[in-house]
Symmetry: C2
Subunit: 220 residues, 2 copies
């Protein structure tokens, strides 16, 4: 009961004109979402804002949710591109530089249409494809986990799964919290330093705050 509306496009735009229509619809959806929020963003309003008829809207998107899903996918994709690119560059760096770069890029990724990002984050759970976003988190966690494994000797935490999970969660969250509650912090280099320091100190470990000390980092 209560079937979820379809979220895939109705047809693939093939000609130039129709691709422009689809782009206009996506852009308008983003604008209206930011301006009015999800509830008050009606498909009629979106079509009007796009300068397109309501009929055309439903030619390419089978439902309102599909429209929003497309916007989410595009936005998340843009952010993930930034993060993935950086993680590749970072793979060869030692822990401290890598952490700093990761934090920097996380903040940079949050600078892509932050208002839209905020609305989407709020609304994602209500559109069918939340899995997409969870998969992004899981992908990031897996990438970080692989990095930690490769640098095992610099890491002072035993459980790499948990370490990756906590590192990704906390960096993501501190960035997110700063975007929402302390926007001014984002431009301060101190912020990047502190967040990076938080992650590094945890990952490097400490004989006094954890049970064991796997590697010999005692002497510096």
């Amino acid at each position: 009961m209560a079937r979820r509306p379809a979220t895939s496009p109705r047809k693939n735009a093939s000609q130039e004109r129709s691709r422009a229509t689809v782009d206009a619809l996506l852009a308008a959806t983003a604008r209206v979402l930011v301006r009015d929020g999800y509830d008050h963003a009606s498909t009629n309003k979106i079509a009007e804002a796009a300068g397109v008829s309501i009929g055309s809207l439903y030619q390419y998107f089978p439902s309102k949710e599909a429209l929003v899903a497309a916007v989410i996918e595009r936005h998340i994709g843009e952010m993930m591109d930034v993060v993935r690119t950086s993680l590749v560059r970072v793979a060869a760096l030692p822990l401290r530089e890598a952490a700093r770069e990761l934090v920097r890029v996380m903040i940079e990724a949050h600078r892509i249409e932050p208002k839209l990002h905020r609305v989407l984050v709020e609304q994602i759970p209500r559109v069918g494809n939340m899995e997409h976003v969870e998969r992004v988190d899981e992908e990031a966690t897996a990438l970080v986990r692989a990095y930690l494994e490769a640098r095992r000797d610099e890491i002072g935490v035993e459980d790499l799964d948990m370490a990756a999970f906590l590192a990704v969660s906390s960096v993501e969250a501190m960035t997110h919290a700063a975007v929402l509650r302390r926007p001014a912090l984002l431009s301060e280099p101190r912020f990047v330093d502190e967040v990076a320091a938080l992650v590094v100190r945890y990952l490097e470990g400490d004989a006094a705050t954890s049970g064991a000390r796997p590697a010999m980092l005692a002497a510096e």
Copy 2:
């Protein structure tokens, strides 16, 4: 344009019978929100689930948003009571024990109706009184900041504002992420240990990962 609906109760229930009605409405709202989500939780459905007529609902709540706001306020209040109580107990403890206790209580607080919590967190931004929740974060940050100030000599971070902000954000987020993505972790004591260690290592500081070293914790 677009006036926000009122969010305060229409009248204060004075007699016993009416208070039972209000309670039934709040409980039913929580149930329906969890079952159907915000969009599909209509006031008619809520009234029916509460075994109360739609007219009675509007006798006590001027709008759907007011109803949800009341549920939010009650839920946040319950969580904040738990946290506040613990922070008082913790004030006298040294950093490491305090951190562990704070993390433990944060997880405990998230155990209060976690499904409802999830829906509310998603919907809060859309109901007028988001300020309430932001104030909760700010209150927690202020309490932690005061604690850090009192224990200045145990802290190796210069900027106490930022330290409190990052500590609260990251603990809140790791708990939250665990609730949503790794529920099994919540029952493992290791999880509390690791999260606490993360915060402690950051707050205790480290000459190698931050610029200055204010106190003399070099020798252990």
